[in-house]
Symmetry: C2
Subunit: 290 residues, 2 copies
DNA sequence: GTAAGTTACGAGCGACGTAAAAATG
DNA sequence: CATTTTTACGTCGCTCGTAACTTAC
């Protein structure tokens, strides 16, 4: 019918006002564009331009045609974007979590359970995660409480307990437990991607100085190299630090113990079945699934 | 971006189910279509088809893509149609009338006044004409009464008086005037494209037999060749019939005398100016316009 | 003279068709 | 064996760029 390049030419002309400017924009020679526009007129069997010897401009038909061209090209662009996004969504599972530990632990499971899919993950706030789950940005999210919607299913996964790691020389090193407020005012090392834990730190230790570290491995090195307090949890394997002559002291605040719940759409149940079996096996190691 | 022929190919495939059927529909060879579809996948960077050795079908991406293709192609089709229609409207003046005489008389005036435009005309009922005027189907309409809308302008044009033409031997031939009801029951010749006059005939002469004739010139010959009554008006030049030894007797009914009004949008005033000046000159031959 | 548009001519890419192969029922 | 899809190869058309011409400011 009408080749796309003709519409592109027309639109470029409308947006620039001259054939030469438009042709430059399109990385095309003037004559090529000139001929294209004549061809478009031929095809439509309508004049689109007012031609003076040395000047050319859209007539009323042309204005109308350019409007249509814009609409059509927009729609084509949308087509490409939407199809690519849809395809990507068919080949990726996106995991959203309110904290890093579930991502560290669940991503490898997803990767090997769905070997042909890409696993993406993000840390975000609870509201954002729930919205993302409903609009299919995420297929699975992890929160510290179950979801209440009828369309969602929640299964309890694991608990995470916070520890503070200290060098033996630290004044608090001999304690069997500390409250966060006791650490207020200290200078501490902190991983930056910790989701809701960050809010907790700000609330309980507003006076503390946190040396934020974006790189997880770099943080580990800093912990080893310094005498500063740092946080750890039961879900994180930091054998280095244990060997490195640090003591782990449990945080006593009730907020420092959370239960994680995997939440997903009931619709996804079939597809996620293989993953869910593995999760349930972890939670109840005694129960064997066939 | 995406060439149109690729979208056409995809759509044809969806509508037929096999590449071979689709290619035939497109007057194209199978291999050409096969390659096109691969190219489309290349461009989108997405698989659109499930391919078995001997069979090919759309996958979910493909279904989505085909939907978009249909939408885009529809819009292109609409673009072509609308632009052509718009262009035609810019080059034609369409005259609508409730009776044939105004068309016969005004069309030549319009043709020579707007030599570069096409003049089209139609006979229709009053309601249809007014609707057509507002939606730009017509630029000028002729009714037997002025219009009342604020956006419209009406100017009185000419009057038309109905006559019956009879051979001298006819019983009514000696009268100086007749009422239509006196003709009820007779067999008469009638031109078919007479607009509202037809309704009048049906109302006043329900018992008459009308021999309808679609061709105006053919009607003239029939009138000459037969002794049947026929109608004429002051606006029609039928010199042949006058010479042919027929008598013209005025119809006395008040409905047989009508005034015609040219009605058009005030917006059109500028464009129609040249035409309107001619009309006014006809109505008031004494008044000269510069 | 510079900048814009058109016309003319030749070149190269790409979409096409034909032919042949592979696979399925 | 007929039908369908894919691969291979040669051809032709269509769009492109370069060059030359015309016109206007």
């Amino acid at each position: 019918m009408i080749d796309t390049y003709l519409l592109e030419g027309l639109l470029a002309f409308r947006n620039t006002g001259t054939l030469s400017a438009a042709s430059e924009k399109l990385h095309l020679s003037q004559p090529a564009l000139s001929r294209s526009m004549r061809k478009l007129e031929d095809i439509l069997d309508v004049t689109l331009f007012e031609r003076q010897k040395n000047k050319i401009s859209l007539n009323e038909n042309g204005i109308m045609a350019a409007d249509y061209a814009a609409k059509i090209l927009d729609q084509e662009k949308e087509m490409v974007e939407r199809i690519r996004a849809y395809d990507r969504s068919r080949h990726t599972i996106t995991l959203g979590s309110c904290a890093p530990a579930p991502i560290f632990m669940l991503t490898p499971i997803l990767s090997q359970t769905y070997a042909d899919m890409t696993i993406a993950s993000e840390i975000n706030g609870e509201d954002t995660l729930l919205r993302g789950l409903s609009d299919n940005t995420y297929q699975i999210i992890v929160l510290t409480q179950p979801a209440e919607s009828d369309e969602l299913e929640s299964i309890r996964w694991q608990s995470e307990h916070l520890y503070i790691t200290l060098p033996p020389a630290h004044p608090l090193a001999g304690r069997t437990g500390v409250h966060l407020r006791e650490l207020n005012g200290q200078t501490m090392l902190l991983y930056s991607q910790i989701g809701f834990w960050y809010d907790l730190c700000m609330e309980k230790m507003p006076e503390a100085r946190f040396l934020m570290q974006d790189e997880y491995t770099a943080l580990g090195e800093l912990v080893q190299a310094s005498a500063l307090p740092a946080f750890s949890t039961n879900l994180v394997r930091n054998d280095d630090e244990r060997h490195m002559n640090r003591v782990f002291i449990p945080i006593l605040d009730s907020e420092a113990r959370v239960d994680y719940y995997c939440i997903f759409k009931k619709k996804s149940n079939t597809f996620l079945n293989r993953f869910l079996m593995q999760i349930r096996a972890e939670v109840n190691p005694g129960v064997k699934h066939k």
